[in-house]
Amino acid sequence: MALTAFTVLFAVSIAGYLWNRRAASVLREGGARLHSLSGFHGLYSFLTAAIPAVVVVLFWLILQGPIIDWLVMSGLPAGTLDGLSKGARQLTLAEIKSIAGGRIFGTPEPWKLEAAERLNSLRQVGSVLMVIVAAALSGLLVLLARQKVSDIFRARHKVERTLSGLMIFCATVAIFVTFGIVASLLFETVRFFERVPVGEFLFGLNWEPQIPLREDQVAAEGAFGWIPVILGTIVITILALLLSIPVGLMSAIYLNEFAPKRVRAVAKPILEILAGVPTVVYGFFAILVVAPALRSFGASLGIPVSPNTAMAAGGVMGIMLIPFISSFAEDALSAVPQSLREGSLGLGSTRAEMVTKVLFPAAIPGIVGGILLAVSRAIGETMIVVMAAGLIAKLTVNPLESVTTVTVQIVTLLIGDTSFDNPKTLAAFALGMMLFLVTLVINIFAIRIVRKYREIYD
């Protein structure tokens, strides 16, 4: 039905466009000198009709569900909901909905069947009403717009102002998104800290979020100290950087300063392939190839290696980051002005000396910025660690042991059915908040370094 509503309102708006344009052309043919071109009169009609109608339909779509739910629930025979908790009410509503969808289990009470029927009819009425409202509103607005066509009407100014408004709205969506992230994380984090003290979270050495579901269940009490989790994240990040920084830097130096043109033309796209591989693929690669290889290598040396080592996850993440670091380093190297190269070569240095003693120091700020961005990617990387790293938080820095990370915990705490009222799910949001803050600081810092550095030589 939503599709029908949009089709109708766009059809009406397009008709309005044609109608107004025609009207303006007729005026023009009659010898009048119009302020705006006919097309702008048409566009004016289109925009005045389409924008309010789209907004109304979107709001209708968002609000229709909750309003119908409320109508159905309040229309139930008196007494049926007395003494039921909020959860039980929701369960009743869900049952009514599944009956309405044609999935009937057992023999429901007649009032449920009745309610389901009412739900269906309300839904139908609502959808039809929405289409009618969309058509009527856009039609009315088209009529109003038609009245405006005249020689002195400044249609172009109106259209341009509306377009500017639309573009400003688009640009502010980015702010809304950031605001949404902060608001949602903050909201749930505050609820988490109402249950678990901040100090325990920040300085606790135990992370055991599996809390008992029933009162009588014998299980861990639930401990929410994030130190072992963040330690695991740091271990894996360092392992990834130990691999990717030298390899990425060396390949950038080689490609930028030494490689023949043809080698460069082939090698760069291949490195970019490495950057385009989805992380879930790297994760599978880690469990399919790297982890077993590490294990058998460890076994041949007589070292016990756990199946989900930090090493495997960190190593594969390092491979993922090679093209990332290499491309930032290349940008930084090519931003160094040619005069520095020529000057140092002219003084008789070899190319290697030029690179290590002149280019590299000059490019260091840019390279550091790139590495910082890589750090923030490594901290926030999810799929590789979810698939290849462990689930249990251990306070260890041994890369051959299994460690867990912030992102792994977020995903495992939230996979499956989630309810928003226990510390287990709320803990994921607290971790997410921390992750967001840490990466935000690193990103802003890194972006500033990269940008400032570019300006020096511009």
Partner: protein
């Protein structure tokens, strides 16, 4: 001049300088070798990645089928009860024709009945339900064999391993070989991989639901992020005054491009599912989440494309009396469009491979039907890969690799299209 002693004679000086140059050249070669080594390492890793995926994945592109002549016994299947009926018994009976001795005890009969896939009865059921007049006839059906036999046929189960450590025992191997002798076992191209939805049985599991789910999610993502991204980019590049608000927006966009993807998942979980009450696992919500991540990419690409249009175009249009809006929408935007499209396709390709936010909104559910609308629960390609990678059945290892190959080929096509568009339409000024 105060020279060191060696340099005071001409010969000594030349010798010293030569030595120094040799040493310096050596260190240059060393640096180059390091560079080549680094690049080769990266290439080697890429090669191992692709090789390991193709070597495990290609086997899932073929599937072992069993051809059976099944007598649809009216005693087991009656027209009134369709689509219910003892189809599994009928298939078992068809197999018993070849191995009458297996019918003696229940356990053996059971084991024999497990040779064709568990889905064989449904294939037969659909055939009979489509044409009930065939009850009582003998129907020839071709059904996938169950996973252990499939692996046996593909050589993934070593016949040399001791029986107790093998997934198929000697008796089962003998059955399979006998059927093969009869010419009833055939290896066919596995179209089911893309035409069937997910299943618990590896031999029946396919990507149809995931492909359609990914399609819906990408469509929603495109519909939202493309107009929003272009609008924001045009405003920031062409109209925005240089002030603190536009600075704030810029910092925001740059930062959004670097926010970890899992955080977007948290946002979607809390806002779209928690506050707005949208359905779990729906491609619509997945697409909305992905659009938040694709938008910064599109904005950045669009701004670069707009920047690449030379100012002379703008000045010429302004000079003949066009308004600022007419300049942008009539002249600059069309010239920048190939670049915008390229950036958009690359952004969508990234969105196609994105997994973590989809996990958080529940697109990793086990769903055995393809979604009909974007509001139905479904999986997406990357989350399907994640589910299969997590499945304990051995048959899913090659399925996972095959699914990854499908995903990678989509990415290659999309990126190839982007490169093609760039080369074909982009103008150098």
């Amino acid at each position: 001049m105060d020279l060191p002693p060696v340099l005071r004679s001409e010969k000594g000086a030349i010798e010293t300088i030569r030595k120094g140059v040799r040493k310096r050249n050596r260190s240059q070669i060393f640096l180059q070798i390091l560079g080549i080594g680094a690049i080769s390492f990266a290439f080697l890793m890429l090669a191992i990645l692709l090789l390991s995926l193709t070597s495990t994945g290609y086997k899932a592109f073929v599937q072992t089928y069993l051809t059976l002549d099944v007598y649809v016994d009216p005693a087991e299947v009656s027209e009134e009860q369709l689509p219910r009926g003892g189809f599994d018994d009928v298939i078992e009976a068809a197999l018993l024709q070849y191995f009458p001795e297996a019918g003696e005890d229940r356990a053996t009969r059971r084991a024999l009945g497990g040779l064709p896939s568990n889905g064989a009865q449904f294939i037969l059921r659909d055939k009979v339900a489509a044409d009930p007049s065939r009850i009582g006839e003998t129907i020839r059906i071709s059904v996938p064999v169950s996973d252990p036999y499939d692996q046996l046929n593909k050589g993934l189960i070593d016949r040399e391993t001791p029986e107790q450590r093998r997934r198929v025992d000697n008796r089962e191997v003998a059955w399979f070989d006998a059927l093969k002798e009869e010419g009833l076992i055939r290896t066919k191209l596995n179209w089911g991989l893309i035409t069937r939805p997910d299943s618990r049985f590896p031999e029946l599991a396919g990507l149809k639901g995931a492909l359609i789910g990914s399609f819906w999610a990408l469509l929603v993502c495109f519909v939202i992020s493309f107009p929003l991204g272009i609008g924001a980019a045009i405003y920031l590049e062409e109209f925005a005054p240089k002030n603190r608000v536009s600075d704030l927006i810029e910092v925001n966009i740059n930062n959004l491009a670097a926010v970890p993807s899992v955080v977007f998942g948290l946002l979607a979980l809390a806002v779209f599912l928690g506050w707005f009450g949208m359905p779990r696992s729906a491609p619509l919500v997945g697409g909305m989440t992905l659009s938040l991540m694709t938008m910064p990419t599109i904005i950045i690409a669009t701004r670069a494309a707009l920047k690449a249009v030379p100012p002379s175009i703008r000045e010429a249009a302004l000079g003949v009396g066009a308004s600022k809006h007419q300049v942008v929408f009539g002249h600059v935007l069309p010239l920048a469009f190939p670049g915008i499209l390229t950036g958009t396709i690359i952004g969508l390709a990234q969105a196609l491979g994105e997994t973590a936010p989809l996990l958080l909104i529940g697109m990793n559910a086990f769903i055995t039907s393809a979604p009909a609308t974007p509001l139905d629960a479904s999986t997406a390609l990357p989350t399907q890969i994640f589910i299969w990678a997590d499945s304990p059945e051995r048959g899913f290892v090659s399925r996972t690799s095959a699914a990854i190959l499908v995903l990678l080929s989509f990415l290659i096509v999309m990126n190839g299209l982007a490169i093609f568009l760039r080369n074909k339409f982009e103008r150098k000024w």
